[in-house]
């Protein structure tokens, strides 16, 4: 609600009140201040999120160290409960959501020709909540009783217990952290939606917008619709835990199932909040590295919204074995399977894009190809899990763990890596080292396959999830999985080495190192603080015009020259 008496000669699309100054480019201090520049905020998001990727990965490796032998010998089973709770929460709320918000910040304004986000201050505030709820969650390791052990889903009755009786306990900190993360995400969602809907370059109708912006919009709509429901459920859980109410306590007339409904109404769509931008990244990168237009652009764009709509009516498939009536199971089985239609459309569009393209197997392309490959596999196991009889058989086994890690790591995180490599030169002004990138890819692909593929096998054999000890018959699969997890830990070394050394001494990046088509590639690398400022190009053709020989914007050569001279 900030308003001002700004002079009319200023750019109308941003608030040009004295915002906190970005500081000179290259000055590291600006990344530690309340900076309102979307590009600074984007890098802040990504850097802090990668830090938490290491934390979450470390927790995962402790778990896999525990599971390398059947008995619970490395850590106590209670500690193990805390480990998987924190691993899941960290990876979702402190790594994936923030890293994708980082991409939104970096990519959306330049892609649509906007100078910044619609509400720069709100944007900075949303970012600075992130370290706050990160610290709150980490602090739960220090409170008496340790962190929450009720899983990242926090089902009652486990999550309404407070056996030690401390007012500040791990579960309370978990709820506060998740709630603050929700507040931050809503601020972000309002900002991203407004920016995409209202601040596009002249000539850029919705159907001339890059697919990444479509998928970001679709994903942020899910945030706006789902997060309030989770917030309501979390508030009720907090009251049950700390103020003696009995919303979810059967002994007081409450209903623990209602929490599951509240939780999954958001938390299943939350998977699409993470997956949709990755679909966008695949759709951006395949045309660049295959030198062909994206196949079926309009259908791919609309399929994103089909996913948004369907995502809101599938949540009960997480509760097939929670006393759900049969008619409800049937309905949600069908809706869940319907998701395969829009996602299948996208997969076929990507394959058709690659068909007979001149494929360049650089690091981002390798991550994309492997990501789609893994996604197809995860999609097949997803359809299996949507089937009620199969789900009742393998629900709560390692089959489910394998399935969602194939989605969340082998597809989504692969897409995150692809995006980091692809846009690294654009936003840092430095080229990354291709050989280190390829090493990172090979280690990650082998490690993740070794880690998550045997889980399917163990799960089909009947190994339950969330246990610190298991029957020796599952030992082979678990040893393989643990080796894969440690390999994934090793794979972060070339990745981080590449990021740091490229930042420090990588070759200077030209404005458009990949010969890509898109407004962001008409800017210098790194782009100036306000992107195109007042001289925004007029878009005259749709995106991905590879091989069509038509310019994307009016006066394209002038913009290219300007970017080179900068």
């Amino acid at each position: 609600m900030a308003s001002s008496t700004s002079s009319p000669s200023l750019d109308p699309r941003v608030l040009k009140e004295p915002l906190p100054m970005p500081g000179p480019q290259g000055n590291w201090r600006r990344y530690f201040t309340f900076n309102t520049d979307a590009k600074v905020i984007g890098i802040q998001y990504i850097a802090v999120a990668l830090l938490f990727l290491l934390v979450g990965g470390l927790l995962a490796m402790i778990m896999r160290g525990e599971l390398i032998t059947p008995p619970a010998d490395l850590v106590d089973p209670t500690v193990y409960n805390g480990l998987y709770t924190m691993h899941g929460t960290v990876m979702l709320f402190l790594f994936l959501f923030p890293v994708l918000n980082g991409f939104n910040n970096l990519l959306i304004p330049p892609m649509i020709g906007a100078p910044d986000m619609a509400f720069p201050r709100l944007n900075a505030l949303a970012f600075w909540l992130f370290p706050v709820f990160g610290v709150i969650l980490m602090a739960s390791f220090l409170v008496p009783g340790g962190p929450s052990g009720s899983g990242w889903w926090a089902y009652p009755p486990l999550s309404t217990q407070n056996p030690l009786g401390h007012a500040i306990n791990g579960q309370l900190l978990w709820i506060l952290s998740v709630a603050l993360s929700g507040v931050s995400s809503i601020m972000g969602a309002v900002n991203f939606c407004t920016t995409i809907l209202r601040m596009r370059a002249p000539g850029m109708g919705l159907f001339k917008m890059p697919i990444f912006c479509w998928t970001a919009l679709a994903a942020q709509l899910i945030q706006l619709m789902g997060l309030p429901v989770l917030t309501a459920g979390a508030a009720m859980l907090l009251f049950d835990l700390s103020f003696g109410t009995s919303f979810f306590k059967p002994e007081g007339g409450g209903d623990p199932m209602l929490y599951q409904h509240f939780f999954w109404f958001y938390s299943h769509p939350a998977v699409y909040v993470m997956a949709l931008p990755i679909f966008g990244i695949f759709s951006e990168l395949f045309p660049v590295y295959a030198r062909k237009p994206l196949f079926g652009y309009k259908v791919v764009a609309i399929a994103s919204f089909a996913i948004t709509v369907l995502s809101l009516i599938v949540w009960v498939h997480h509760m097939f074995y929670s006393g759900t009536p049969q008619w409800m199971r049937n309905v949600f089985m069908v809706t869940t399977m319907l998701i395969a239609v829009p996602t299948g459309i996208k997969v076929f569009a990507w394959i058709a894009t690659l068909w007979r393209g001149s494929i360049r197997l650089s690091t981002p392309m390798l991550f994309c190809l492997a990501g789609v490959f893994n996604f197809i596999f995860a999609g097949i196991t997803g359809v299996m899990l949507a089937t009620v009889p199969v789900d009742i058989h393998v629900g709560n086994t390692y089959f489910v763990v394998g399935h969602f890690h194939y989605i969340i790591f082998n597809m989504i995180t692969f897409g995150v890596f692809a995006a980091i490599y692809h846009w690294f030169p654009k936003f840092t002004g430095r080229m990354y080292y291709e050989s280190l990138g390829k090493l990172h890819f090979i280690l990650t692909f082998i490690g993740s396959t070794l880690n998550f593929l045997p889980m399917h096998w163990a799960g089909l054999m009947g190994m339950p999830r969330r246990v610190a000890s298991y029957d020796p018959e599952f030992a082979t699969a678990n040893v393989l999985a643990s080796l894969g997890a440690f390999l994934l830990g090793v794979a972060t070394i070339p990745f981080l080495l590449n990021l740091v050394s490229s930042l420090v001494r990588g070759p200077k990046a030209p404005p458009n190192p990949w010969n890509a088509i898109g407004l962001e590639w008409l800017l210098p690398s790194p782009p100036p603080a306000e992107n195109f400022e007042d001289d925004v190009p007029t878009v005259i053709s749709g995106p991905y015009g590879y091989g069509l020989g038509r310019p994307l914007v009016e006066d394209q050569e002038r913009f290219e020259r300007r970017a080179l001279e900068a």
């Binding site: 109308p12 601040m199 309501a232 919303f247």
Partner: protein
């Protein structure tokens, strides 16, 4: 839905020209020009936020309806139901304040600042009456937060709504103080619009809440 298919951004070449009226003097004419274009984003963002916010209430209402129709224990022992008369007066006051805030908005649009402040203050008074009435009601209730699902959901719903009323009052007070600042005539137009929208939202939520909790007593 034209705004969805066409970006509302005006080409910089035209918008860079000074608005002959000046945005401060003529808030109505500043749409799509100069500062007005930015303010439109504020409203877009605010409407998106309110739509999202309304879903928290929707979730709580659905939860309430599920409990009410399925919970084995509903009213705590010794509680007959809720007294309707005082809350009904409260409801009438709150709902009428929506009309009053609209009058304030209209006065501002006609550049009658004194009249605007009067209607604005009256809205605040009516909102305050509602909150105080709610507090008095809470004090006289024979059940508490821990009195089963009924007590918990009653206090959660009315409390969460009350929080919104208090937020609205605080925003109004903030804008009222700003309107007293000398030399600043009408730039708060958009803020007034946003707060007024928020106030209507709070009223509509209350009507649903009132029907759910006070009118629908038997089950």
């Amino acid at each position: 839905m034209t705004s969805l298919s066409q970006p509302a951004v005006t080409p910089p070449s035209t918008s860079a020209l000074p608005d002959p009226n000046g945005p401060e003097l003529d808030p109505g004419a500043s749409h799509g020009h100069g500062h007005g274009a930015h303010a439109d984003h504020t409203m877009t963002g605010f409407v998106i936020f309110l739509a999202s916010e309304s879903l928290i209430f929707l979730a709580l209402f659905v939860g309430y309806a599920v409990y009410k129709s399925s919970a084995p224990l509903w009213l705590p022992a010794g509680v007959e139901g809720l007294e309707v008369r005082e809350p009904l007066i409260n409801t009438v006051v709150l709902v009428s304040s929506s009309l009053v805030i609209w009058l304030a908005e209209r006065a501002l649009h006609r550049q009658r600042l004194g009249e605007f402040r009067a209607w604005w203050l009256l809205t605040m008074a009516m909102g305050t009456y509602f909150v105080v009435g709610q507090a008095i009601e809470w004090q006289h209730l024979s059940f508490g937060l821990a009195s089963g699902v009924f007590g918990a959901s009653f206090y959660l719903l009315t409390g969460f709504h009350g929080l919104h009323v208090v937020t609205g009052l605080a925003l109004m007070a903030f804008l009222l103080v700003r309107s007293l600042r000398p030399g600043l005539v009408l730039p708060e137009g958009k803020g007034v619009l946003a707060v007024s929208l928020f106030w209507h939202f709070v009223d509509v939520i209350w009507v649903v809440l009132f029907v759910l909790t006070y009118v629908w007593q038997r089950r």
